[in-house]
């Protein structure tokens, strides 16, 4: 056991001396590994960033909400299955609320109906395109974080009376009213004039893709009146009492919805309940895309790197054939020689991996400084992954030459010119 440890230390010492003596050669050989590790860490930072950005954005939306809708958010089934379902009417939310209020120790708190679309919003010569248009009731502030910069949210009277009032996201307000406050002004949405009663504070964007500041919120009754041509499908957002008990809340909600929909015991659910996790799953294709691209580049670079290292280790074995013979004459076993050349290959890969990590980290810091909102995140796990991959590459690429070195016949090796 001691012997193995000493051989290990000695091998690292020799590997270090060997690399130090062949700096350029070692660097060029390690280049593939460097590129591979840079690719894998950049991929990791991107995916990590998406997750963090997602969670941050989800907190904005409220991470204690269950979403009831006709269509599930993420599914591998065909759309037609869901299209033929009965619409969820806006009074479903009211019916749900009645049940929730009547349930003792309910896991649910509040059900609020919502409907949405993307519409252009105009005021005179100014226009904001594809604004997220949300129809809901005056109870919306009870289930979402609503921070207002100006004015107020619309009230129950306006909500029930389908009044043409709206609350603007700050980017929309700034785009349409660059020179003065939007409050009590009118904007045109879908050909109808809406009075601005409030403006949201800045909320930021979701992964830089979807801006929460580019929205307009109006009474659901008004939304139905103007925007829904056929049918009257609505979503219901339900706030949970405790986000730690998602499954219980979900089960309760399914039961409640079945009552609302008057389903018989043998009928399947004709609605879907989604959580943020379902939303998260909708992001999976993006993350998978990044991962596939990243792993492809990583794999390619590490493959090329591994071949280079295998080659250089074979060269090293040939150059040092006599040394191998000498070591064997002094009592080195096959294992000793195998270990020595494996460690040399691993050492080159580890140096490459470390350089790659340092380079990635600097790159990450640069991007972070230049684009603070860009979704990337560096983690300790990435460092471990990078080092692990380097070691594996070293072992894989060094094995064949190290094996051949260990099998050399001592006499032949000593006679080698």
């Amino acid at each position: 056991m001691n012997r193995l440890r000493f051989e290990f230390v000695e091998s690292f010492r020799i590997a270090y001396a060997q690399i130090a003596a062949n700096r350029t050669r070692s660097f060029l050989t390690a280049l593939g590994v460097i590129i591979g590790i840079v690719a894998v860490t950049l991929m990791g930072t991107a995916i990590g960033g998406i997750n963090t950005g997602f969670n941050r954005s989800m907190a904005l939306l409220g991470d204690d909400i269950l979403y009831v809708s006709k269509h599930p958010w993420a599914t591998d089934k065909d759309d037609w299955e869901f299209r033929n379902r009965r619409d969820i009417k806006s009074d479903a939310a009211e019916a749900l609320q009645t049940i929730i209020d009547a349930t003792p120790r309910s896991q649910l708190v509040k059900a609020v109906p919502t409907a949405n679309a993307f519409r252009n919003v105009v005021r005179g010569d100014y226009q904001a395109n594809a604004v997220f248009t949300l129809g809901t009731t005056d109870e919306y502030p009870e289930i979402a974080t609503v921070d207002l910069r100006d004015g107020r949210f619309f009230n129950a009277t306006e909500s029930r009376g389908a009044r043409n009032v709206c609350v603007l996201g700050c980017d929309v307000a700034d785009a349409l009213f660059p020179e003065r406050s939007a409050l009590e002004e009118y904007v045109t949405l879908g050909g109808k004039k809406f009075r601005v009663v409030g403006v949201f504070s800045k909320q930021g964007s979701f992964l830089g893709l979807f801006s929460f500041d580019n929205q307009i919120v109006i009474p659901l009754s008004a939304f139905k009146k103007f925007f829904v041509r056929k049918g009257s499908d609505t979503d219901v957002r339900v706030k949970m009492r405790d986000k730690e008990h998602v499954e219980e809340a979900k089960a309760e909600l399914i039961g409640d919805m079945r009552r609302v929909r008057s389903l018989l015991p043998d009928q399947e659910d004709d609605f879907a309940i989604s959580t943020q996790d379902s939303f998260k799953q909708a992001l999976d294709p993006i993350k998978t895309g990044i991962a596939v691209a990243g792993l492809f580049i990583t794999g390619l670079a590490l493959f090329v790197g591994a071949i280079g290292i295998m080659n250089i280790t074979f060269v090293s074995v040939r150059e040092r054939t006599r040394e191998i013979g000498t070591r064997k004459a002094l009592g080195a076993r096959r294992r000793t020689i195998l270990l020595q050349f494996l460690i040399e290959a691993v050492a080159i890969c580890l140096l490459g991996g470390l350089s790659g990590l340092v380079f990635s980290y600097l790159l990450f810091q640069g991007v972070e400084a230049a684009f603070p909102s860009f979704p990337i995140e560096f983690s300790f796990g990435l460092v471990l992954t990078g080092l692990f991959m380097s070691v594996v590459t070293g072992v894989v690429s060094g094995f064949a030459p190290a094996w051949s070195a260990s099998r050399l016949d001592p006499v032949t090796a000593l006679r080698y010119e």
Binding site: T326, A329, V411
Partner: protein, 249 residues
């Protein structure tokens, strides 16, 4: 020896130490090399007994099979046919790792070309057999130091081979051969790459080692070098031509 030489070198002490137990016994050993279609009979059946405390020279012209014999005796190679017992153990049937252990513990090699590790200091070179023996660092350092001092290189411990003269390199190699306290020292043409004066110095060192109680086999084709030994075995065409005590001129 000329008068001038004896002024530099210590007068040769021809004491013969009493032979100890049998270390090496070979009987009817042959070695055949297959080189493509060609078959080379490097050894054609040699028998030899070597005891502890012997100082033996193996002589013979180039190609007579000296190195082949040496490699065999040093457990670097196994005979094609014949019996080989080292300290009473059958070597011919040993596997690679067992042979490696014998080489490490029982045999000290000295090569014509020194064969030092170029990027390692004298001390590291001498420590190497102790690493393979699994000795702890402190003990390695001490033993390697003592071995280097014993060959007169106490002041060259941290030098690399390229900072040493040929004679000094061979001294490092000898220290390395000695450091594990082997049963036998095998030197294949140890002076072959040295000028004659340095060669004599190395042989004087061998004489000292013999006097200190080591068992030594030297392979050489030079009569001057062989004369240092107490017994000479002459090889010709893979056969032992003669075997007997050294006749001093």
């Amino acid at each position: 020896m000329t008068a001038e030489d004896s002024a530099v070198l210590p007068a040769r002490d021809r004491t013969v130490r009493p032979p100890g137990p049998l270390v090496i016994e070979i009987e009817g050993v042959t070695k055949v090399y297959e080189m493509g279609s060609e078959t080379i009979h490097a050894l054609r059946g040699v028998s030899l007994k070597i005891r502890r405390n012997e100082y033996l020279a193996i002589m013979g012209p180039s190609g007579s099979g000296k190195s082949t014999m040496m490699n065999m005796l040093g457990c670097l190679d196994t005979p094609t046919q014949g019996k080989y017992e080292f300290n009473g153990k059958d070597v011919a049937s040993m596997d690679d790792d067992e042979l490696a252990t014998i080489r490490n513990k029982e045999i000290g090699f000295v090569f014509q070309t020194f064969n030092l590790l170029p990027r390692s200091t004298s001390l590291s070179n001498v420590e190497l057999p102790l690493i393979y023996a699994g000795r702890p660092a402190g003990e390695r350092r001490d033993k390697a130091r003592r071995a280097l001092e014993n060959v007169g290189l106490g002041n060259r411990m941290d030098h690399r081979p390229n900072e040493l003269s040929g004679g000094q390199r061979q001294r490092v190699a000898i220290a390395r051969a000695l450091v594990n306290d082997p049963s036998i020292i095998l030197a294949d043409e140890p002076t072959g790459n040295l000028d004659s004066k340095t060669g004599e110095e190395i042989m004087a060192l061998m004489e000292d080692l013999y006097a200190q109680g080591n068992t030594i086999i030297v392979v050489t084709h030079e009569p001057d070098i062989a004369e240092h030994a107490r017994r000479i075995v002459r090889l010709r065409d893979g056969l032992i031509e003669s075997d007997g005590p050294t006749e001093v001129r």
